[in-house]
């Protein structure tokens, strides 16, 4: 009889211990889950901040100045040279630089690459850049010239853009600079 009571006491004690152990495990899992969620929220916020760009007066000025820069391309006659703004429109309309015997789009791509290279050479704080010239209307979005990209960005991204109206839509000229 005594031995039966002892066995049942020991069994009850081990059950209580098992329940406590399960409770502790649940608590531990909960804490780990909370910490993981906090880390994920922090990561999402930091990644989102890195990908988007901030507006900057300096880059905005650069885009305005770039659009007014006189190129070597004359669509009709010399010295009526296109500025970059007009050259983008000429490229969109598939026109040709008669004085250079080149397509406006080829020349635009070439000269933008050249300008951006020089800008990066003169401004040591710029570690990378991106230039997007894209047409968009209500239905579609397509690049007028291939995206121009150079450098590896590890700092803050600042951008500026200008809108150019064309028939049935608009062209967006977007420039992004990555500063160290």
């Amino acid at each position: 009889m005594k031995s039966v009571i002892l066995v049942s006491c020991l069994w009850g004690w081990s059950m209580v211990k098992k329940n406590k152990g399960q409770q502790e495990m649940v608590g531990f899992v909960l804490i780990v889950a909370i910490v993981l969620i906090a880390l994920m929220v922090f990561l999402v916020i930091s990644i989102r901040n890195k990908t988007e760009f901030k507006q900057s007066d300096d880059v905005e000025n650069f885009v305005n100045v770039l659009m007014m820069h006189t190129t070597e391309c004359a669509i009709v006659y010399e010295p009526d040279y296109d500025n970059v703004n007009d050259l983008i429109k000429s490229c969109y309309n598939n026109r040709k630089c008669t004085n250079l015997n080149k397509m406006a789009c080829d020349y635009l791509n070439e000269s933008l690459n050249q300008i951006m290279e020089k800008v990066m050479e003169t401004d040591a704080s710029v570690s990378a850049y991106e230039v997007d010239i894209a047409y968009e209307n209500n239905e579609e979005r397509s690049y007028v010239i291939p995206q121009i990209l150079k450098g590896n960005c590890s700092g803050s991204v600042y951008g500026g853009q200008q809108l150019i109206s064309v028939e049935s839509g608009r062209i967006i000229a977007l420039v992004k600079f990555c500063y160290n």
């Binding site: 300096d58 305005n64 100045v65 300008i115």
Partner: protein, 152 residues
């Protein structure tokens, strides 16, 4: 039996105390990281504000009749005026430490004024540097107008 129960309870209390301390340390670390991140933002904002203020001053200088292409365009500098100003003695006129303009593509530079003060900070922004070619046609290049201000 009573002793082992007492020891078990003490262990539990100890475990809980350790857990609370660990969670507290974790949240303190997260808080410190967050405060550090916020301070970086404040420093960035301060630098940006300082730069924006400098750009506004540069805009004012580039829009002066001594420099500008015409009154309708902002941030546009006449290259001929730059040449004249670079060779004149306007030293007492400018309220800044230095003014310099340069063309980015041609690597041509014009030093308009330099007070030769040592403790100065340079700010610059992009401007259009234009030159009349024939009749109504002009050639405009991307340039930078750099203004030195006395630091501190």
């Amino acid at each position: 039996m009573v002793n082992s129960l007492k020891n078990g309870a003490q262990m539990k209390i100890q475990q809980m105390a350790f857990m609370i301390v660990a969670v507290l340390i974790f949240f303190v670390l997260v808080g410190l990281a967050f405060i550090g991140w916020q301070f970086i933002g404040i420093k960035d904002n301060f630098n940006n504000l300082q730069k924006e203020q400098a750009i506004a001053s540069i805009r004012t200088i580039s829009d002066m009749p001594e420099f500008n292409c015409d009154s309708r365009r902002s941030l546009c500098v006449d290259e001929d005026k730059l040449i004249v100003m670079a060779n004149s003695s306007y030293s007492g006129f400018w309220n800044v430490a230095s003014i310099r303009a340069y063309k980015i593509l041609e690597k041509k530079s014009y030093l308009v004024y330099d007070s030769k003060q040592k403790n100065r900070k340079e700010f610059s922004t992009y401007v259009l540097i234009c030159k009349k070619i024939t009749g109504n046609y002009e050639k405009c290049d991307i340039g930078k107008l750099s203004v030195g201000v006395v630091d501190g």
